[in-house]
């Protein structure tokens, strides 16, 4: 069964550094998402992406964040200058349609020191 994959599984970085989190969505899906979960808290929506552009973003998704689909398979989340409070689990998800099931990857655990 096709799965969403994410790399790396864990990343440790210094405050102020740039990080790129990578995702490979399910191949025939058209809608892509990033969510994050700070330890012990609920999952929060960051951004949705469709037809090579952002379709919706949350207040969390400020100018430090960007997303890109550089080729036909990868979907990336970049954080330009990480802050301590960016430490969280980041989940990528994809779906065939905006109103159907979203399938989640295993997550990238980011720790900013």
């Amino acid at each position: 069964e096709p799965e969403v994959t994410q790399t790396p599984s864990h990343q440790v970085t210094q405050m102020g550094q740039e990080v790129i989190l990578r995702c490979v969505p399910i191949s025939n899906h058209l809608y892509f998402y990033w969510y994050r979960q700070i330890l012990g808290q609920k999952v929060e929506f960051l951004v949705s992406f469709y037809n090579n552009e952002i379709s919706e973003k949350s207040e969390i998704f400020d100018d430090q964040f960007s997303v890109e689909r550089p080729d036909g398979s990868n979907f990336t989340l970049k954080i330009r200058s990480t802050k301590l409070e960016d430490s969280a689990m980041y989940f990528c998800a994809s779906g065939r349609d905006s109103q159907e099931t979203q399938y989640f990857g295993p997550g990238t655990r980011l720790l900013v020191l």
């Binding site: 809608y31 969510y35 929506f45 949350s58 109103q99 099931t101 989640f104 295993p106």
Partner: protein, 107 residues
């Protein structure tokens, strides 16, 4: 925006017991999903259930969209059922999540 409330926040069961988890939401939605977050942090899709009833082995879910709630039933619980259960509802092109129910199943 849409509010999602889950209850109970915590639940402790003996192996073999049954339980019901509830998710209330504040507005009509086009998507509702139940997830199990395992101890490694992975989100496991349980059900996509914007309305109606579905069953998968020992789990079943019912969503009454007109009354804005969904229920997740776990029967004959096992220790591997432990973890956090999240309800997430669709608001346009994003999922809004509840705080989850933390379930511990003791042997």
């Amino acid at each position: 925006g849409i509010q999602v409330e889950q209850s109970p926040p915590d639940l402790i069961l003996q192996e073999g017991a049954n339980s019901t988890l509830r998710c209330n939401f504040s507005d009509s939605v086009n998507n509702l999903q139940w997830f199990h977050q395992n101890p490694w942090g992975q989100l496991i899709n349980l059900f996509y259930i914007p309305s109606g009833t579905k069953q998968n082995r020992r789990l079943s879910a019912t969503t009454v969209a007109t009354e804005r709630y969904s229920l997740l039933y776990i029967s004959s619980s096992q220790t591997t059922d432990s973890g956090v259960y999240f309800c997430a509802v669709g608001d346009n092109r994003k999922l809004i999540w509840g705080l989850g129910t933390s379930l511990a199943v003791n042997p």
